[in-house]
């Protein structure tokens, strides 16, 4: 499957799991999307570790250091799986996977070339020496424990937005 097809399939399946699904190309596009998705002034946790996170961070005047105090987490994730519309969050490199768990709103950025076609593809990569935590995230948190009626937003995020960033464009750091 081609890159654009993988991205399209991933976004389609993510949307089917009640995630907001967005596709952007370039920093400007990404920042514009974030401006639409993240309410102005919300306390945001953005790790600022990757190029894309560094580009996004200045958008948020109200950044918090502890994700437990945030209403929104904006972060780049390890990858995604097209087959199931799933994000892959890993603890490697000192990443706090719970950043995508505690706040009510999780905004996950993933590069198109980090989208695996299938579960097999992803597991082949992490199976040998898995990091402490690998979490596959498909949609916001949910339950059907009461009368099998779906309720979105239980202990994890109530809202999940995924943003696929198309390659081929450089991402200079935003001005500090």
């Amino acid at each position: 499957m081609s890159g654009p097809d993988l991205a399209a399939r991933f976004l389609e399946n993510a949307a089917a799991a009640a995630a907001g699904a967005h596709s952007v190309s370039g920093t400007g596009d990404l920042l514009a999307a974030l401006g639409r998705i993240v309410p102005t002034g919300s306390p945001v946790y953005c790790p600022g570790l990757t190029e894309l996170e560094k580009a996004a961070a200045p958008l948020f005047p109200n950044r918090v250091a502890d994700c437990a105090a945030a209403e929104v987490t904006v972060e780049e994730v390890f990858g995604a799986i097209a087959e199931t519309g799933t994000l892959v969050c890993v603890s490697e490199g000192g990443r706090a996977v719970q950043a995508g768990l505690l706040p009510a709103h999780h905004v996950a950025i993933v590069r198109r070339d980090r989208i695996f076609a299938t579960l097999d593809g992803l597991l082949a990569v992490v199976a040998a020496v898995p990091p402490t935590n690998v979490t596959l995230v498909t949609g916001p948190s949910r339950t059907a424990d009461i009368e099998l009626t779906l309720a979105i937003g239980v202990h994890g995020p109530e809202r999940l937005d995924v943003i696929v960033v198309q390659p081929g464009v450089t991402f200079p750091y935003a001005r500090p």
Binding site: G94, N133, I146, V154
Partner: protein, 455 residues
């Protein structure tokens, strides 16, 4: 909270359940919904049968070499920094966990859903030593507040309707009454968030364990499983030994089969792969990870004729299609596990003497066999258990005598014909003896049996 096992009164439990209109309605709704959702989820999947065959083969491979996979898991989990404990039985498991919590001064424990922890009656043991144990899965939280036991292995509060939950929350939590599931869920989120963040320890189960890497794999939807396993400084996981899968690379088929079989979802919201506690450089993970591997009779089952029940991956699909479960709900079975897989495990784990009536809780219709993702031969195993029930002397004496007579009559045409004649002549008496429940539901025998009119 766990009550004593009531499997011996299965029939009267069932009668009570049948008379409970709200329970009947809840069970019909639940089983109809699950049945349809599962079918819809599998419909677009191209090679379901091949997938089931592969998953079944992997589970068989594990059972054929279980001690080796368990040893491998212990070694690799230990290498990853976890402390692994082997618990021979329920009492040992409870005490291992209580002690390691008490030694660290843990008072508030948050808990993810774990059927095995119900099996060993863990909560009561911890609470008896003064610890606060808070169930965080919404369904488990509901039944904990209600002081009940789960009635389904995936959806523990399936027997409750929204009004009952609304009333429960308003009475026990002091919130204004609402029966809107979204509102009730939000209340639970608020109440439990505070518990997660202040807990000394988290206890979870695990859906599977990968033997080669020592990883625990959890399938959850609410996020409480993720909280419980990463937020408190101490994570204790309890799982039974047959949950092993050889390698993480074997998981795709199970990831495709389990959510669809259980809830009709393509994926659960979260699949967590946890390998050891937090390591230097990590910002995620409990500081300490203790893994308790429970035997509690499984090694013995493994050596017996019904060992294939250990292939079960706890999806709940079998109970969702079972006509008996649908009619009587989960509590009637009297122990932790209900429905087809439940009556088998109950009998094998708690013994025939305490369980034998549930062995009859099946019409042998085979609906369960149709849906089991790993092809556990459920009907065959139930037949084995019934044969054991007879051999071990737990049959009803009248039934035993009747069957002995049947055996003779079936092999003797003269005796068979005599029986037919007597039944025909004394049908009103047979009806009285056989009760309106049985003979009363049958027509009177024909005046002339077919064999006298046949060619």
């Amino acid at each position: 909270m766990s009550d004593a096992q009531t499997s011996l009164s299965f029939r009267s439990n069932a009668v009570q359940a049948i008379g409970n209109a709200q329970l009947r309605a809840a069970m019909r709704h639940a089983t109809d919904t699950f049945g349809a959702k599962r079918a819809d989820a599998f419909a677009p999947v191209a090679d379901v049968e091949a997938m089931r065959d592969r998953a079944s083969a992997i589970r068989e491979e594990v059972l054929n070499n279980l001690p080796r996979y368990v040893d491998q898991f212990v070694a690799s989990a230990t290498r990853a920094g976890a402390t692994v404990h082997r618990a021979k039985d329920a009492a040992v498991a409870r005490e291992i966990i209580r002690k390691l919590l008490a030694d660290r001064g843990a008072r508030r424990i948050v808990k993810g859903k774990s059927m095995v922890s119900e099996e060993v009656d863990l909560n009561a043991h911890l609470e008896a030593s003064g610890m606060e144990v808070v169930e965080t899965d919404l369904g488990e939280y509901i039944i904990q507040l209600e002081r009940e036991t789960p009635s389904h292995i995936i959806v523990p509060a399936i027997h409750k309707n929204r009004q009952q939950v609304g009333k429960l929350f308003s009475e026990r939590l002091g919130v204004p009454y609402s029966d809107d599931p979204q509102v009730l869920t939000r209340i639970a989120r608020q109440v439990l968030r505070e518990k997660f963040l202040s807990a000394d320890a988290g206890i979870s189960g695990a859906n599977f364990a990968a033997a080669d890497t020592g990883s625990l794999v959890l399938f959850t939807n609410e996020g409480n499983g993720r909280m419980v396993t990463t937020v408190p400084p101490l994570h204790v996981a309890i799982l039974s030994i047959e949950k092993m899968i050889p390698s993480l690379a074997d998981f795709p088929d199970f990831i495709r089969l389990l959510p669809r079989s259980a809830t009709g979802q393509t994926m659960t919201s979260y699949v967590s792969v946890i390998t050891g506690p937090r390591k230097p450089g990590d910002a995620t993970g409990a500081k300490e990870l203790h893994i308790v591997l429970l035997d509690n009779g499984r090694t013995e089952i493994l050596g017996g004729e019904s060992r294939d029940i250990l292939k079960c991956i706890r999806c709940g699909a079998c109970m969702n299609v079972c006509p008996v479960y649908r009619t009587v709900g989960g509590h009637a079975y009297g122990w932790t596990y209900p429905g087809p897989m439940g009556l088998i495990l109950t009998t094998l784990l708690t013994g025939m003497a305490k369980s034998h009536p549930v062995v009859d809780a099946s019409t042998l219709c085979g609906a369960c066999v149709d849906v089991c993702p790993v092809r556990v031969p459920l009907v065959d195993i139930i037949l084995q258990l019934r044969h054991r029930k007879v051999r071990e002397g737990f049959s009803d004496p009248k039934e035993k005598a009747g069957m002995a007579l049947f055996g003779k009559a079936a092999a003797s045409p003269a005796l068979f014909a005599l029986g037919q004649r007597l039944a025909g002549w004394f049908w009103p008496v047979v009806r009285v003896l056989g009760g309106k429940d049985v003979a009363g539901r049958m027509p009177a025998p024909a005046k002339t049996p077919f064999h006298r009119k046949a060619p």
